[in-house]
């Protein structure tokens, strides 16, 4: 869970935007330190609930919200929490927001709540959130933590959507529940199954790393 932002050279995709260090806190989560494709954190929800685009998007947004709120609270309380009990305190803070998210999703759509199942409660133990609290929010100001959480949250949502879109397109023939192919489309059942999650993640990782490598050499 090291945080490699400090010693990264200013090259790459967002190079021109990187004038102030605080912009960097935001954009690093989108691409360079993307929580799924680079840090490979939070694999449990990534693989389990990315079977449709809607599930993936909802899961990503719920995680992003919890990440944002917990980062704000952890970084504002960072001088009050004793070192010995910090993990327990972080979990307590995260769990509070997860409970809120759980009720909010249930209020918006019972179907969605059923589809996401236990994975909403499991946001508590999502290592992405805990790692941002431990590695970033507990050492940085509230402003920086907000930017970090927004970047990481959007990066996580983006990655989940990438997986969910492919899996729903091939596994269901639709995108966001809207049919994308003619009626007699042959569904790839494996894409809905957990195995499809692994395949899709692996293929996205290949694409991601190949483009990154190409950019580094040119």
């Amino acid at each position: 869970m090291s945080n490699p932002i400090q010693d990264k050279p200013n090259t790459g995709f967002w190079g021109s935007l990187k004038d102030s260090p605080s912009t960097d806190e935001f954009i690093k989560g989108l691409w360079r330190d993307n929580p799924v494709f680079v840090q490979v954190l939070g694999m449990c929800p990534t693989l389990a609930v990315s079977n449709t685009a809607i599930n993936a998007l909802a899961m990503g947004l719920a995680t992003a919200f919890v990440l944002l709120m917990s980062n704000i609270l952890v970084s504002s309380l960072r001088n009050f929490i004793p070192k010995q009990v910090r993990i327990a305190s972080y979990i307590l803070i995260i769990a509070t927001f997860v409970t809120m998210t759980d009720y909010v999703i249930q209020a918006i759509s019972v179907d969605l709540h059923k589809a996401l199942g236990a994975f909403i409660s499991l946001i508590v133990v999502n290592c992405l959130i805990l790692s941002r609290a431990e590695a970033f929010a507990s050492k940085n100001t509230v402003g920086k933590s907000v930017l970090d959480a927004l970047g990481m949250g959007i990066g996580f949502t983006f990655a989940l959507f990438c997986l969910g879109a492919v899996r729903e397109l091939l596994g269901n023939g639709s995108l966001f529940g809207i049919p994308f192919f003619p009626e007699n489309f042959q569904e790839w059942i494996v894409m809905i199954l957990p195995a499809g999650g692994f395949f899709t993640l692996a293929i996205w990782l290949i694409i991601f790393n190949a483009t990154k490598e190409k950019r580094a050499t040119t």
Binding site: F181, P182, N184, F185, Q186, W188, I189, V190, A195, F199
Partner: protein, 339 residues
Amino acid sequence: MLNRTLNISTSPHITKGIGTDDIMQNVVWALLPVAIFAVYSFGMSALMVLLASVAACVLTEHFLCKFSKKESTISDWSAVITGLLLGLTLPPNFPVWMAFVGGVIAIALGKFIFGGLGYNVFNPALVGRAVLQAAFPVAITTWYPAFLENRFSTVSSSTFTMPFMEPTVDAITGATPLSAFKFDHVITPASDLALGLITGSTGETCALLILLGGIYLIARNMMNWRIPVSILATVYVLSGILHLIDSQAYPPPLFMLFSGGLMLGAVYMATDMVASPITPLGVVIYGFIIGLLVVVIRIWGGLPEGVMYAILLANAISPHIDNLIQPRVYGTAKSVKGS
């Protein structure tokens, strides 16, 4: 009569020797009778499936090599074998586009990702088939009867399905001996099974031709005979014991031996040189595990056939088998475990 001149040359007297491509080429020759019988019994539909899977494998291998800026490795014939084996495990009325997808997956996911020939952990053809089985479970278990009257002039209605479209269900479908046993408790006589007078995947029907090809490869020392022998012996003995215990509930051992993909799997797929263990004892353990899994999956599992999963599982543990039976290096302490 003897007017041959004795040719005396200086050393070294070394001929070219047997390379990978020689062995692969011989495997293709050994598989040809099986493929020809498949076309003979199932007609044009089987030919289309075989052509599609071979073409997919060769093209995928070629383009992936080009893409990674390496020399194309299609000339070593291994992609042809993968395609041929994959096609032989598919039903004859399988849609061509699905067979093509299977070939692409077999080479890309089963072989190239691991580093190409010599590094594949699993048998590539079986990886392709396993993904197809998981993706299209209905199409891969819809069987076509053998020896139809018009099999050389027409293809089955599902063969040329538009890509990504659901195949139309044929009016005429058959049942494999294994599914007939599993769901209707009908036992096909062993002579029909051995001669291939049954329905099933394109290449798995004629057990005798498969055995013949295997014997040819073993005679030329291009295949480890311990693998098929230990698999078949394990299946025979285990199912024989079960049949003795209850001859009503469990099928006779000869039926188990000749039905389904066991012959094809034991002779051509489990003997994948890369994915099987290298030591003689390790190979026997590997064969025993495959045989055990085949019997367990067939008799107590939900699917009628389990050779594919048995071989893939045994492939996964084959490096550990070699590690486990590593002999003690002379002069070292007995308790030292292989590192």
